[in-house]
């Protein structure tokens, strides 16, 4: 008897990677983000406390086939800090003055290519290597996820016989074409059902150190429920705008944050939101795209969507109702998609190849 998992073996080409440990007086928690965002050819991970024989600090490694010396790394970090500073100043945000290349020490070292730190470097590498256009809108607890629509899968993988067709998805899209393809119909204006594959690297140290890629797929509905578009659509169909009263929306308060608010009144020119007890009047003609979006999480919003926008908007849930026996065969088939998209990560001069099969374990259950 054996068990099957959603783990995939990750096999490094060498036992150790070449890396750099950064320590010093700089705010390391912020610095790691700066390196990952702005430093070209580098990837970084922050170890907050000593772990696995390594001291706390930022661990940095080159990516792809780059090869750097300590002074190159320092120069790249210096460039990254300048870009960070410029961007913060341009946005009128405070700059962390501890972030200065003179406040850091760099030390070259080699670390086990199956260590916890390397797992984190690989995870941060994923965010850099996955093409932006394939990345899913983030969800809590998902590190990296790709969203693939049926046309993309057909064009890039199925028609080229790289992998077998996902008949489950194909049949669904044949039945509910408006939910899968850009047909210009009501549902397709607001929704698209895609295959979402989440991935992250997992460090395991039960008998010996290993790194696995943990994959999961599910069928997901992407929603484009910009309120302005919904209002325009509602008007074009002569639907009473008052039906939007009580609907919950995400109101963008700044670049990075939104607030859950309720529409309390609406007419042709303006609407009023209730946000945490505050009432905010909004001029509909001045609404920016995506500044307010309907959230389908709440039942009143769902009732509105179901009644006026797309009756079948929840149908994708049926796709996710399957047994592990079927699930694992689809996942193993999809593994090749992931292998092609992230290719073979190269970190600190080591190639990490990803196996073609899911991990199976002998176990007496």
């Amino acid at each position: 008897m054996y068990i099957i998992t959603n783990f995939v073996d990750v096999i490094p080409s060498k036992d150790a990677i070449e890396a750099y440990r950064i320590s010093g007086k700089a705010n390391l928690g912020v610095l790691v983000g700066v390196i990952n965002k702005y430093a070209e050819g580098l990837i970084a991970s922050f170890l907050q406390s000593d772990y696995g024989g390594l001291n706390a600090g930022i661990y940095v490694a080159s990516i792809k086939n780059n090869c750097f010396h300590e002074e190159d790394v320092k120069a790249k970090i210096k460039d990254a800090l300048e870009k960070y500073r410029e961007e913060r100043v341009a946005r009128g945000l405070p700059v962390d003055e501890s972030l200065n290349v003179n406040n850091i020490k760099i030390q070259t070292l080699s670390i086990s290519s199956k260590s916890y730190v390397v797992t984190n470097l690989l995870n941060n590498f994923l965010n850099k290597v996955i093409p932006k256009e394939l990345q899913c809108p983030p969800r809590p607890n998902e590190r990296s996820a790709i969203c693939l629509d049926i046309d993309f899968l057909e064009r890039e993988f199925w028609s080229k016989n790289i992998i077998k067709r996902d008949e489950r998805f194909v049949n669904f899209c044949n039945d509910y074409s408006n939910l899968c393809r850009d047909s210009g119909s009501d549902c397709s204006k607001f929704f698209k059902v895609v295959k979402c594959i989440t991935m992250r690297f997992q460090h395991v140290d039960s008998e010996q150190e290993e790194i696995y890629l943990v994959l999961r797929h599910y069928y997901r509905r992407l929603s484009y429920l910009d309120l302005k578009t919904v209002i325009d659509y509602t008007r074009s169909k002569s639907i009473d705008l008052n039906n939007l009263r009580g609907v919950y929306v995400n109101y963008r308060t700044s670049k990075d944050s939104t607030q859950a608010c309720k529409i309390v009144s609406i007419n042709n020119s303006e609407l009023e939101l209730e946000c945490e007890g505050r009432y905010i009047p909004i001029d509909i003609s001045k609404l920016d795209k995506d500044s307010i979006t309907i959230t389908p999480t709440y039942s009143i919003s769902r009732e509105f969507i179901c009644k006026y926008l797309c009756k079948e908007f929840d149908k994708h849930k049926d796709l996710n109702r399957l047994y592990p026996s079927e699930y694992f065969s689809i996942l193993e088939n999809d593994l090749e998609i992931v292998r092609r998209i992230i290719s073979e990560p190269v970190i600190g001069g080591v190639h990490f190849s990803i196996d073609r099969v899911l991990k199976r374990l002998e176990a007496r259950l």
């Binding site: 008897m1 068990i3 099957i4 809590p140 989440t198 460090h203 607030q259 999480t297 769902r302 259950l365």
Partner: protein, 464 residues
């Protein structure tokens, strides 16, 4: 990744007043464990109640009368499934009904209060089905209105009453919940969740600890604790409103919450060696909240009064385990590959993953096929359980193995007074009710009522 063990539901039987069983439905024959709180004798339990009042909107009389008849006399079609509230639970409670005019919590409360003393009448309220994710729903508003007066209540939905298939199987679980909210202990585990040589001089407390954010205002949240003994017997709960944007404030308030709970635990067991096992929920929280929890555990001064303190973080996992050609089959004969519930794997030292939905075998106590599953279709779920030694208080004399610590999680997954047909819940009871506790605490706090100051509700499981 290696298999550590498979915890089996049959190794965690339930203890009732007159015997033990693997099946919670045995409560009908074996009767509830206790009619009053075991750890708070000053609180009167089920016997304080003279009656139960079913409250319903005028136009739902037909549904309410059906519920009234069945609660009184047992399920009309099959009394073996449900013999009636009093016969099932060995109580002597009068059951009545009365209508209200509209779905307004104050109006419902007014009708309730006109029909007797809140000390003696338990409210069973029929409401429309609402999405539990709606903070403003009639469900939470009504629960909070009653709770503000220190009155736990039970809600049943009109949808449930109208669906014969689910209704017939829900009567016993509803009754068990009411029994627990009245202050009774329906059942507990027939064993200690961990193996300690000398239980006579040792007290083991299992604490659930978590933070939940306000659904509409992320800057506000609630920290909560729930306390159980080593057999899963309910002890008490407490909660505190937090400012989520101030990490230090969060830590301080949670430390206060811990201090208060610790002093209650220790005052009840002054001479014993006290062991505390904390399950903290990593659900819905970010690293700041987590850090606040860990700092609070580290900084709570009374923590070192325990002989030892163990800390487990429990969170949802994306790991999927399939039992290749496993024994479970769906109704149509399909082999599902569900893994056994309780299968636990080690990922690395102190980090484990445990299957909480999958198949199980209740052995000879099962009525039909032996192999069943606590999931109909979809993927089995697993939890990641990580031990946080850096904030533990360790003592060699009271050392507990990782397997025993994990068994506290599985044991607490066994305890379920809501879906009693499910032998293992997805989450341990210690952290399962974080949303209910948080949302009602927040709602009460908005009306300037501090849950921890209410006399009765700290000692009954009002959040079920």
């Amino acid at each position: 990744m290696k298999l550590l063990t498979v915890f089996k539901p049959t190794d965690f039987k339930f203890k009732f007043a007159n015997g033990t069983s693997v099946n919670a439905y045995s409560i009908i024959n074996l009767k509830p464990l206790s009619r009053s709180p075991i750890y708070e004798r000053s609180i009167e339990g089920v016997d304080k109640y003279k009656s139960m009042l079913i409250l319903y909107r005028q136009d739902k009389e037909k549904l309410a009368k059906k519920l009234l008849e069945d609660m009184k006399n047992g399920l009309y079609e099959n009394k073996k499934i449900f013999p009636g509230f009093n016969r099932a639970l060995g109580t002597n409670i009068e059951i009545n009904s009365n209508s209200f005019s509209s779905y307004e919590p104050d109006k419902i409360y007014d009708v309730y209060i006109q029909h007797g003393s809140p000390d003696k009448v338990f409210p069973l309220i029929v409401l429309p089905k609402v999405n539990r994710s709606m903070y403003d729903s009639i469900y939470y508003r009504t629960k909070a209105t009653f709770l503000a007066k220190d009155i736990p209540s039970q809600v049943v939905t009109e949808d449930l009453l109208g669906n014969d298939n689910t209704y017939r199987w829900s009567l016993l679980p509803i009754s068990v919940q009411i029994f627990a909210k009245m202050g009774g202990i329906p059942y507990a585990l027939d064993r200690s969740v961990i193996r300690i040589k000398d239980l006579s001089s040792t007290t083991i407390t299992i604490m659930g600890l978590g933070i939940s954010a306000h659904p509409l205002n992320r800057r506000r949240g609630v920290g909560f604790v729930t306390l159980f003994d080593h057999e899963g017997v309910w002890n008490f709960m407490d909660s505190q409103v937090l400012s989520m944007d101030k990490q230090e404030d969060m830590s301080e308030k949670i430390a206060e919450l811990l201090e208060g709970s610790i002093s209650k635990i220790l005052s009840k067991n002054p001479k014993k060696n006290n062991i505390l096992i904390i399950h903290y929920s990593g659900k819905e929280i970010g690293w700041r909240e987590e850090e606040a929890i860990r700092n609070a555990i580290r900084n709570a001064k009374s923590m070192n009064k325990f002989a030892s303190v163990y800390v487990l973080k429990i969170r949802d996992s994306d790991i999927i385990i399939g039992h290749y050609d496993g024994p479970h089959k769906a109704g149509d004969g399909t082999i599902t590959w569900y893994p056994p519930v309780g299968a636990t794997f080690q990922l690395k030292p102190d980090v484990y993953t445990m299957v909480t939905t999958g198949y199980f075998d209740l052995g000879k106590d099962a009525s039909t096929s032996r192999i069943k599953a606590n999931i109909n279709v979809g993927l089995p779920t697993t939890k990641i359980i990580a031990r946080h030694r850096e904030v533990e208080v360790l003592n060699q004399e009271f050392e507990i193995s990782d397997e025993d610590l994990l068994s506290t999680v599985f044991g607490m997954c066994r305890l379920n007074y809501v879906a009693i047909g499910n032998p293992v819940s997805k989450e341990p009871v210690t952290i399962r009710y974080s949303r209910e506790i948080a949302w009602i605490t927040l709602r009460l706090m908005e009306n300037r009522i501090d849950v921890s100051k209410l006399g009765r509700v700290s000692y009954v499981m009002w959040f079920l």
